[in-house]
């Protein structure tokens, strides 16, 4: 069974990373380990003009750092992500591939002028982590609005959905796991 590798992309606290381990392990029913041994050069992904970080570049360097890894790799950071055609993204994944990244930046209520809500922030991060990893399992966006694979472009969308897969998406993940093992 392939494992999930959790990789901090600083700036990010270790507390943030460890909080993801158990939820991911139980949702994907697979070993989830943290690898803090590498130090990704995040500056390569910085767009000075936009003051944001290009998540596609981060995906590429993550893949480069772990060429041998059998399972999935999830990078987590607190900086603001973008892809060239969009103003921002919550995360990005290699569809049916191995790597994914998620950002904490836009999941935080304080960004929208609301009081701090650590529990909600954590729930959102788990959902986005599961969502992006879901893409690496070959899943597309799901029409079921409370499935974690439902497309969400706002935090309100994220709050509506659950942190788990609908039956159809769940079956697809299992098929994918069995095909690999």
């Amino acid at each position: 069974m392939p494992s999930i590798l959790l990789v901090p992309i600083p700036p990010v606290t270790m507390e943030r990373i460890t909080s993801l381990r158990l939820p991911l392990q139980s949702i994907f029913d697979t070993d989830t380990v943290i690898d803090a041994s590498i130090h990704l050069d995040i500056i390569a992904a910085l767009d000075m003009y936009r003051n944001q970080y290009n998540s596609s570049i981060l995906l590429a360097s993550l893949k480069e750092r772990f060429p041998q890894h059998e399972g999935k790799i999830l990078g987590v950071s607190e900086v603001d992500f973008f892809v060239p055609v969009l103003t921002y993204v919550f995360g990005e994944a290699q569809l049916n591939g191995t790597v994914a990244v998620v950002s904490v930046y836009r999941l935080d209520d304080t960004l929208y002028g609301l009081p701090e809500n650590p529990r909600r922030l954590n729930e959102r991060l788990v959902k986005e982590a599961v969502h992006e990893l879901g893409h690496t399992f070959g899943l597309y966006h799901c029409l079921d609005y409370d499935c974690v694979m439902h497309s969400s472009t706002t935090v309100e969308d994220i709050d509506i959905k659950r942190d788990n897969f609908c039956p159809a998406c769940s079956r697809a993940v299992k098929r994918h796991l069995h095909a690999r093992s």
């Binding site: 936009r50 596609s56 892809v83 055609v85 103003t87 597309y140 706002t154």
Partner: protein
Amino acid sequence: METQWDILVVDDEEVMRESLAAWLREDGYAVDTASSGREAIAKTKIKDYAIYFVDLKMPGGIDGIETMMEIKHLHEDTSIIIITAYATVDTAIAAMKEGAQEYIVKPCNPEEISLLVNRIIKVKNLQRENTILRKKLTQQYSFQDIISKNSKMHDIFQLINEIASLRSTVLIHGESGTGKELIARAIHFSGDRSQKPFVSVSCAALAETLLESELFGHEKGAFTGASSQKKGKFELADEGTIFLDEIGDISTKLQMDLLRVLQEKSFYRVGGSEEVHVDVRVIAATNVNLEDAVREGQFRDDLFYRLNVINIILPPLRERREDIPLLAKNFIERLSHELSKNVADISENALKILLDYDWPGNVRELENAVERAIVTCKGRILTEEDFSFLCHNGKRKNGWHAPTNMTLAEAEKEIIAATIHRTNGNIKEAAIILGIDRSTLYDRIKRYGIER
């Protein structure tokens, strides 16, 4: 119903192109990319994309607007979304006037793109459902290749079902072009003779002696040129059905012969002395009123009563106008494919012209009109202009004055040459526009020495 929709992203900037494609792929769309207008047009010729994202500013060759116009020309009902930078928003708005459905300013809010694509796809899904529904409707209205929702026609369909397996003769009355042979075929193929031959003979096409040998065959040496024995249509139709079209045109002698076949179920080949026995169901058709012909002594009454056991009267098209849209769309579907054209539909205004027209030549005339319109049609939808020949019938066409200083042959040569020029030498198309068959057209080309 899950449908895969194709999207093409056209942008010279690789990072823009790839990030948009990746974003759309996560939604489950099949996304292709093109790095120039030229590449986009080439790909359009291979695949029908539901949505295009086209960057407004692309260097070299053709820009976004030109690309869009060319794509629209190839694929009229596609949706084009223009991608633009802030600086060129004005041009993007101009692009909307040229037929772009929307524009997005890059970098774009992800929510905006998702909503936009969802909205367009929702409409496309609805349109597709409508097409499927319309197809189902046509199937519902069709009986053995005959399409109708007219109640008289439906009575006929029911009658056909009831009589299909009988041996009784059938007489079909109907103006020319109403589809009498289709009815005869429907009777044959709905009944228990459907695995046996269906043989069709047009009695008006042949001179009396030829028709006689055509129907009954001849023995070797029966007349000059009869170098061997030949089976007639009655023998060929044994155990099946023979369809005798334009029965009102046959001579008194043939009327006698036919009467004997109907009574005795046997006949002699021309020049023969051996009786040939057959089991053939006879279906005859006429576009003249046979009862009148009987009254005037032109047609034998005993033959008439023999033929008229079951009588079917086909209404002319002008009495079943509700079928015109149904038939027109069916012809478009079939003929567009046969003529290798991309025509898919007909406009409301064009349909109105068809509904208002009187159709003296009935369904066949409608079919010919649709064929002629498809040949000259430039887009994917037949418009009123494509049917202008129906309105101008008998009237002088706008801006055209008949020359008064040339012979008829010269005029004919000019018209044929001009038409061939217009169809780029395509003889099949030219013949359709000219309303003559291809062999006649070849004949004229040779006669007048017209260059192709």
